[in-house]
């Protein structure tokens, strides 16, 4: 090592670009969002301190509770339906031949590559009443659904969102589970078989405990992702959907901050969302550890 590299300023010099960018794009917006949450603004010139008024308004606004309800339904159903499906697919692929496994892995993962906006636009066509692929398929299969308005009927909007998100994310989460399954100790599996364990017992007592850290990670990340849902309903419904049936918390934030121009209230919603995610994630991790 040369004497130059031993100088104390050298590491700081290398870190400076990172620190500057972090300060501009993370620390400053972070601090500014705290300031904003307690102000009303109209451009950089005009701002007024309003105390807790922004939080007070949000907590009394029925739209906030609608958005929390919608997002929570979406998050719960996502975790309950998507993740078992992802795990099931991962187990199927894990037991197949490696060449077929790679092909299916690509097929199942590929919806995730196209992005939420594209998928939203695509499914808006698929769900078209009378002419859409999904409606025609349902009519052919079960004799119902040709005229159903998945994106215009408040009762069908959430099921439509969940169907689309399953198509998008089941393959993505499957990759995590597949990676975890490939690391399950074969010796333990063999030992269980020798001890007379059936397939379910092997899965429950050997496989599941070994993939538990990955499962916790996927559950927490899926929950956080679900609470941050925005682009998909925005592209699919063009906004909050009929009767706000597709309004998510981030959608509510966007509409308040950027459509009505109330950045202060938008910041307050952002902080409440951060709090919700923090509480739920902490609970999930604690429950998983206790178990």
């Amino acid at each position: 090592m040369t004497s130059v590299s031993k100088k104390a300023w050298v590491p700081w010099a290398f870190l400076t670009p990172y620190l500057v960018l972090t300060a501009i794009f993370f620390v400053y917006p972070f601090l500014n969002s705290i300031w904003l949450a307690f102000h009303q603004t109209n451009g950089p010139k005009s701002s007024i301190y309003v105390g807790l008024s922004n939080f007070d308004f949000v907590l009394q606004d029925p739209l906030f509770y609608t958005s929390v309800k919608n997002t929570t339904i979406y998050a719960v159903v996502s975790v309950l339906f998507q993740l078992p499906l992802s795990l099931g697919l991962a187990m199927l692929l894990n037991s197949g031949k490696s060449r077929i496994r790679n092909v299916f892995r690509l097929i199942l993962f590929s919806p995730h590559l196209v992005g939420q906006i594209f998928v939203g636009i695509l499914f808006a066509v698929i769900f078209t009443p009378r002419y859409g692929l999904f409606n025609i398929g349902l009519q052919e299969l079960i004799g119902w659904g040709l005229e159903e308005r998945w994106l215009a009927n408040p009762n069908l909007v959430m099921p439509a969102l969940i169907i689309v998100s399953m198509w998008l994310y089941v393959g993505f989460n499957m990759i995590y589970f597949l990676a975890a399954l490939q690391n399950v100790d074969e010796g333990l599996m063999d030992a269980a078989k020798v001890d007379g364990a059936n397939r379910f017992q092997t899965f429950w007592n050997v496989t599941l405990p070994q993939i538990k850290p990955v499962a916790i990670f996927v559950v927490v990340m899926s929950t956080i992702g679900s609470y941050q849902l925005f682009e998909l309903p925005y592209a699919l419904l063009g906004g909050a959907g009929p009767n706000n049936s597709g309004l998510t918390i981030v959608g509510y934030l966007y509409s308040t901050a950027f459509e009505s121009g109330d950045l202060g209230t938008g910041a307050a919603i952002g902080w409440l969302l951060a709090l919700i995610i923090f509480v739920i994630s902490t609970l999930q991790i604690k429950i998983a550890k206790v178990e």
Partner: protein, 456 residues
């Protein structure tokens, strides 16, 4: 070369120097080529039309004008962000209907656009245009953009199928008469339980059609002073009527939607009548060439015999930003693009959009008959309707009020499905009052707007 911090750091340094140099060179180059005016627009057909005539303006004034085409949503959000942060903005910008509300949510002096009111009056331009159109571009009686269009609404219909059904469209003078005709023709032709022919295209989850039906009756969401005024009996009656046309076994309407669904519904004859502002008549021409000669246009039926037979839907306005350093030149460009009768006539041929400049309605291009609409003069029909187009006032909370109207409609649908028409109107009115109060609460929280209203 022996760089003291290793090869990786040397490579990073080299990349930084090269990219920094390129960035510096291109920005200097861009600055030296900076045009005198930058104009941002969102409609591709406007771009084509403006490019054709911009050369003449540049030659006449010895200046350079740059036209930037940006998608509508991107233009709106970038303009919002730039005006909020004081970043660079175009000198002139075409705004979409309703968007002024956002920019005028604070005191008038904070609006990022030049107030054009005095110029319009001083140059005697105010009365040259359809005066109701200034409403879209005004806040607290100050005008911030020049209207590009009028967008009167007519009904477009499948001429061939209507003739086969022996319906006299000229007899459809009121909505009551239209409704009666609609009940007769809405039928399940193949006996599968689903009607295969409907009278009218009406959306089931958005408010544009309710809004234009309200405007037809001069029922605004906000009045000229920006106050919430939609919780009225007129609104309740209109929504109750709308519910009964779109729901239940006696419905006459179907939501044809947009794009492929709409094209299929029109081609199949699933729906026979469509709300059709001037701009949409061109869309039909372009998207459905196979319907050549098979469509027709009639004025909207009136709510009462002798009342207004049109409404308005959409709009564009040209604003000059306060950051523009050559505001007089920008104003000259605005007048050049928006007030020349001959150019407006030519532009009508390409867009079917009736200009707000009344003198331009006499140009031959606007009087032409169109084969696509069975030989009707599209320009004549729309310019006749343009004279009675209602005003449409905007507020920063227009979108919010619009979503509340949709909510009231959907609640009314639930009520109608459970209890029928009995008490429907009263239930809608009470719901409207609740929703209007919510909008008033949100509006009341805007300290800047409230403060500026309080000024004498």
């Amino acid at each position: 070369m022996n760089f003291p911090f290793g090869k990786a750091a040397l490579l990073l340094l080299q990349i930084a120097i090269v990219t920094g140099g390129i960035h510096l060179y291109t920005s200097l180059d861009r600055q030296s080529e900076r045009p005198d005016l930058v104009m941002a627009i969102f409609a591709p057909n406007h771009e084509e039309a403006y490019r054709e005539v911009l050369g003449e303006f540049e030659k006449k004034h010895g200046v350079k004008v740059q036209l930037q085409l940006v998608s509508a949503k991107a233009l709106q959000s970038r303009l919002q962000s730039s005006l909020l942060t004081g970043a660079e903005v175009p000198d002139l910008v075409e705004l979409m209907a309703g968007s002024l509300g956002y920019f005028a949510r604070g005191p008038l002096e904070d609006v990022g656009f030049v107030d054009l009111t005095e110029r319009l009056h001083q140059e005697k331009l105010y009365s040259k245009m359809v005066e109701s159109r200034y409403s879209l571009w005004s806040s607290r009686n100050r005008i911030f953009a020049l209207p590009h269009d009028v967008h009167p609404v007519a009904l477009c219909y499948r001429r061939d199928l209507i003739q086969d059904l022996k319906i006299d469209v000229n007899a459809l003078k009121t909505w009551a008469e239209f409704e009666k005709m609609g009940r007769n023709i809405t039928t399940d032709l193949d006996g599968d339980g689903n009607p295969d022919r409907y009278a009218l295209d009406m959306p089931l989850s958005s408010n544009w059609a309710i809004n234009l039906l309200l405007l037809q009756q001069d029922q605004q969401l906000f009045n000229e002073e920006g106050k919430v005024v939609f919780d009225t009996e007129t609104t309740a009656k209109t929504i109750a009527w709308y519910v009964q046309q779109t729901q239940g076994k006696n419905r006459i309407a179907y939501e044809a939607g947009w794009g492929q669904g709409l094209a299929k519904a029109m081609n199949d004859g699933l729906v026979l009548f469509y709300f059709c502002p001037d701009w949409r008549s061109k869309q039909f021409e372009m998207d459905m060439p196979n319907l050549d000669g098979k469509l027709g246009l009639i004025p909207l039926p009136a709510w009462k015999l002798g009342d207004r037979r049109t409404s308005t839907w959409g709009g564009t306005g040209l604003a000059i930003t306060k950051a523009c350093k050559k505001q007089d030149l920008a104003w000259e460009l605005a007048k050049f693009l928006y007030l020349n009768d001959e150019d407006l006539g030519k532009r009508f041929r390409a867009t079917n959009i009736i200009p707000p400049v009344k003198s331009s309605w006499n140009t031959p291009a606007i009087k032409e008959e169109r084969r696509f609409y069975g030989g009707q003069s599209v320009g004549q029909i729309y310019s006749d309707l343009a004279k009675e187009t209602p005003p449409q006032y905007v507020s920063p909370y227009t979108n919010l009020a619009g979503t509340k109207i949709t909510e009231v409609y959907l609640d009314a649908v639930d009520y109608f499905q459970e209890s029928g028409p009995q008490g429907l109107e009263a239930s809608i009115l009470s719901n409207l009052k609740e929703k209007a109060d919510y909008v008033r609460t949100v509006l009341g929280r805007n300290v800047f707007l409230v403060k500026s209203e309080a000024k004498p």
